[in-house]
Subunit: 199 residues, 2 copies
Amino acid sequence: MVSNKELQESRIRGYFIEATKETLKGEGLRAVNVRAVSERAGYSFATLYNYFKDLNELVFICVQDFMNECEGFTVGQSVNARPGKERLKARMKAYIGYFTQYPGIFELFYIERMNDLGARQPTARMIYEFTDRIIHDDLTHLIDNGDMNREQAELTGLNLKNSIAGLLLLFNNRLQPAEYLDFLAVADKQIDISLSLIK
Amino acid sequence: MVSNKELQESRIRGYFIEATKETLKGEGLRAVNVRAVSERAGYSFATLYNYFKDLNELVFICVQDFMNECEGFTVGQSVNARPGKERLKARMKAYIGYFTQYPGIFELFYIERMNDLGARQPTARMIYEFTDRIIHDDLTHLIDNGDMNREQAELTGLNLKNSIAGLLLLFNNRLQPAEYLDFLAVADKQIDISLSLIK
DNA sequence: ATAAATGGTGAACAATGTTAATATTTTTTA
DNA sequence: TAAAAAATATTAACATTGTTCACCATTTAT
């Protein structure tokens, strides 16, 4: 059971977390600063430090929430696709769509420096394994269906993880390709290459 | 012809650029700040602004130099490899080696925000096309040799570019895989997948 | 020799993260 | 219920970093 005190404390933490998430989605990571977030949460900037070790901790607490949201989105965008190659492709496209719609969240997942390395190691691993989780169902389905073997599935997953991270990095951070439509075409091609081990 | 004035000016710019490059290679991008670089160059921090628009401009001027260095390194590391698949693989490994040896340069190429977007567009394109340039010779060789067609070469290049960027991003920024030896093994696998369209 | 231009510098300001002392509110207790 | 104690929130202050500007020194031109 939770005491009143714990409940109240977790509510206030929630206000800060919500303010951070809104800022991240709206204005991006660079707009997230102690004063802006605290004002949005309805507190003075110093109050933040009564509930979080530092700004970095607060920011990385958002990762879990965004993961769930992103996973829900990709699954939702692929309900009508046939399990296997078709659904995997749909999910990858949704995944890419999510991170281009919210470049601030991409920054948070892949770019932002994790200052306190030891403490953030679990987060780093979580992020690393996040793509795997989204891919997992369909790769299993493809293996069970005899469309590829375990080895090929592993390689496909590795290639998807790396190439999509790179694709998003180059588009979000380097604006290459410069036009969104060109980017979508390249993304489409890239997914097809990654899935070419499937029978 | 260059006037005395131009020569002197370009020398001083060179001192700042050299100081920035040393800092980038040694302590990384986060150690690059106006006061540290200026002191290393032997001038006051304010002097920097007599020669460069801002710190960002100075930092991005280094890109060209590092590109040349990186290209020289990858070519040097692959002189004994047979042109085609073998040399391409050697070059990709050298490329990866360069950016893991100097994570600060990786940050500069792929991560660091380009503040003034319009002005930095050429740099962004240059970086985007840099990998292509390193890959180009061997892909051409493979096409001429009948080991793959033009379409397959394009896809291979795209996949290499994206997946290696992603691989480096995840290792340098998220420490995944956590051990360098594991990372090398993953990198090796990843290159093989990308090159699997070659006969 | 003096005036003008050039180049270099420190002072100063703004933004941001963070800490510590202070003020305020809530809770406890006599 | 009123005073004391505990908790919570806020303001003041400092450090770091990027940047601008007025000023000083030095060189160059007249």
